[in-house]
Symmetry: C2
């Protein structure tokens, strides 16, 4: 049984408390929050502390606070040589104070406070400096998720850039599609199943193999017609750049 | 009971034959195929014809052939004043020969020959020139799908451009994410749930409201770090253009 203390009361901290509470393989020792009320709906009051000096012994301390507070919080911990990890996708492991053993416990998903989360399908990316610490982190991660990966700080950087492309930029393309539909009085929901199918397909196909469309076919009659049809210069530019990128596929320009 | 004849034997034609065959609300009179064998696994042999002059009377003729063959096929039909539609997303209604009443029956989805399709969730976009013909098409479409929309040729053009953004271009962003992961030895599957969640979210949220990430937050520390991290000039250019587009959101440049 791994004994875990959560430090923080934000979205990720709360989702972690919920998930760990539901597991029989770990025990939540305490949670730290600047305001006790932030967590009383999730934990017994006596398990919530607002005072770093009241933190008891645990196998694992998970700091889940905003990225720029991680360093300071880790330096305020009143103990040494224990396993202390953060949950940030963009923060290197070494911002953690060196008085404790360092690690990263990064659940790769977007969390909203009011949306229930099925942690079992969320990939958790782990990093530690000592291999015996990895086993502790891995056990904790496996207790709530079926997808656990060892990911170094360097790999995490790549993962975050890739996530911007497949998540933030993809959503922006949805937005452009939405704008084009709105401009021409077409209900955007007509595109819903196509969007879901596009995402679904890459569960079984490499995205390069799943590529279809006029750009891929080098169908310049259609791509020229689309370019002429789009009036918004920004959309036109994105259409041009992405069409060229699909056509130059594989060639690193 | 609407009596339907399918002309063509490609992916869409075959999926339509399967879907209509499963419905009690329509009857497949015949199917036309240049090669009889192409359809014998789907229809009784005597219902398949290879000869236009053998086409019997039906309420609706659905031409499902490659875009550039629609016009010629429609002119070869040996009858007049019947309802003849095509299934193309990119072809105007008026390429159909004027001797018959024209329409469009466009299922908006990507079809693969070997993948089963649940037609009930596929949007079908309909267009006719006469309102009484619309009722026939609508009844046929409702017999296989729960999402049926009246979409004019002009709207269909917009829809196709929007579909390129949300389908073809999105898949290309998946491919870039895949390349970045590969380059840094990160398993792409780690991003799978995030990709699915990004697509899932817009079922309930307007994409503009669902936008997150460093570009949206104007977090230039992160976007600059990403730009410095990406070595592929093509990826860097796409990162820059899409980041700017997110930040200029709503301003038509």
């Amino acid at each position: 049984m791994i004994r875990i203390t959560i430090i923080g009361s934000g979205n990720v901290a709360q989702h972690l408390i919920k998930a760990f509470s539901a597991s029989n393989l770990v025990e939540i020792v305490q949670a730290f929050s600047r305001k006790k009320e932030a967590l009383t709906h999730l934990l017994d009051s006596e398990k919530i502390t607002t005072d770093f000096t009241a933190l008891q012994e645990a196998d694992l301390y998970i700091i889940s606070v905003s990225d720029n507070a991680i360093s300071e919080v880790s330096s305020q911990l009143p103990f040494e040589n224990r396993l202390v990890v953060h949950t940030s996708g963009t923060t290197p492991i070494d911002v953690l104070d060196s008085k404790n053993r360092k690690g990263v416990f990064y659940p790769l998903q977007t969390f909203s406070k009011n949306k229930e989360v099925d942690f079992s399908v969320i990939p958790i990316c782990l990093e530690t400096q000592k291999s015996e610490d990895y086993i502790v982190l891995e056990t904790a991660a496996n207790s709530i998720s079926n997808s656990v990966y060892p990911i170094s700080s360097e790999q995490r950087k790549a993962l975050h850039v890739a996530a911007v492309f497949v998540n933030n930029f993809t959503n922006h393309l949805y937005q452009i599609g939405h704008e084009i539909c709105e401009e021409h009085q077409v209900p955007f929901e007509v595109l819903g199943p196509l969007i879901q199918e596009t995402a679904e397909k890459i569960k079984t196909l490499n995205p390069a193999d799943a590529q279809t469309g006029p750009a891929k076919r080098h169908d310049s009659v259609t791509t020229d017609a689309h370019m002429a049809y789009i009036t918004n210069e920004n959309q036109k530019n994105i259409y041009k750049i992405l069409t060229q990128s699909i056509q130059n596929n594989g060639k690193k320009l």
